[in-house]
């Protein structure tokens, strides 16, 4: 067997084993938190009181917006709620809450019990608008600037770390 073929075969196997080794240390669970630094897609959610719609263009009016998908039936949403309350104090950040596949009565009770951090409150009854924004589980939050760029995605409940990261980004 010619030497070149031998070397090629050896290198191919070496390459495959190396890649296997590298992958052992990587995270296999997929999440969409890498889909950032793009423009946020078009969307249109109805206000909770059905007085109108909140669309992508409305985001331009705010310095920074945090879109937060939540529901009264979602346990982790209760866990992240205090963080949202802290964030609501920020002047530069406006929070758009989208109530996801929920009932008005339960949603209102949730907010009256735990506090309402939302500058704007909308609802997505059948969940279709969440798909436009690439949401696949709740709670999920997206941070956008006034140029409609997605700065960060938070899949799952917001943590204190996330709070610090947001404060950093909106300086």
């Amino acid at each position: 067997m010619q030497n070149t073929i031998k070397i090629i075969i050896f290198l191919i196997f070496f390459f495959i084993i190396s890649v296997f080794y590298i992958s052992l240390t990587r995270e296999t669970n997929y999440d969409t938190s890498n889909l950032i630094n793009k423009k946020i897609p078009e969307f249109k959610v109805i206000y909770a009181d059905e007085s109108g719609f909140y669309t992508r263009d409305d985001l331009k009016k705010n310095d920074f917006t945090l879109i937060n998908f939540w529901a009264s039936w979602c346990a982790p949403c209760k866990v992240e709620h205090p963080i949202l309350m802290r964030l609501s104090k920020s002047k530069k950040l406006k929070i758009l809450g989208v109530n996801f596949k929920d009932k008005d009565k339960q949603a209102k009770k949730f907010l009256s019990d735990l506090g309402n951090p939302y500058d704007f409150l909308a609802k997505d009854i059948n969940g279709k608008q969440s798909v436009s924004l690439g949401i696949y589980g709740i709670p999920e939050s997206i941070l956008i600037n006034n140029e409609l760029l997605i700065m960060k995605k938070f899949v799952g409940p917001l943590s204190s770390d996330d709070y610090n990261k947001i404060e950093e980004l909106i300086k």
Binding site: L35, P41, N126, K128, S130, V131, G134, Y136, G137
Partner: protein, 119 residues
């Protein structure tokens, strides 16, 4: 005579071959989308909440007249390429799509040469 028989068969078969047209089938699309909150199931096979929502959105998109390609592009734009089971044809995946046939052809050449050498 034989040639005529062949032609008749081919023509009659061909007529039906061409008759099978392609209409947009939501089920096909569901099968090609991955359920992101499940372990490897497709939207078609999953009973999860997420799958049900995606099915509604796909229904709307079909009603709007979007083609299959546009629907996949919509989904991969929002959720990443991971959600589509058929690897997209781009530079990253060209090796995946072409290597099998390249190897088939190379194997064929190799065999051909081997046999020629050994006659």
């Amino acid at each position: 005579m034989k040639l005529k028989i062949i032609l008749i068969f081919l023509l009659t078969n061909a007529q039906f071959l061409l008759a099978a047209e392609k209409k947009i089938d939501p089920n096909e699309i569901h099968k090609n989308l991955r359920c992101l909150v499940c372990q490897g199931q497709s939207i078609s096979d999953s009973n999860s909440d997420f799958a049900q929502t995606i099915k509604l959105v796909v229904k709307d998109l079909i009603k709007e007249g979007k083609t299959e390609k546009e629907i996949y592009s919509f989904m991969s734009d929002k959720y990443g390429e991971w959600i589509i089971f058929k690897p997209q044809l781009n530079i990253h995946n060209s090796l995946l799509w072409f290597l099998p046939y390249i190897i088939l052809i190379l194997g064929g050449f190799f065999l051909f040469n081997l046999i020629k050498k050994r006659q």
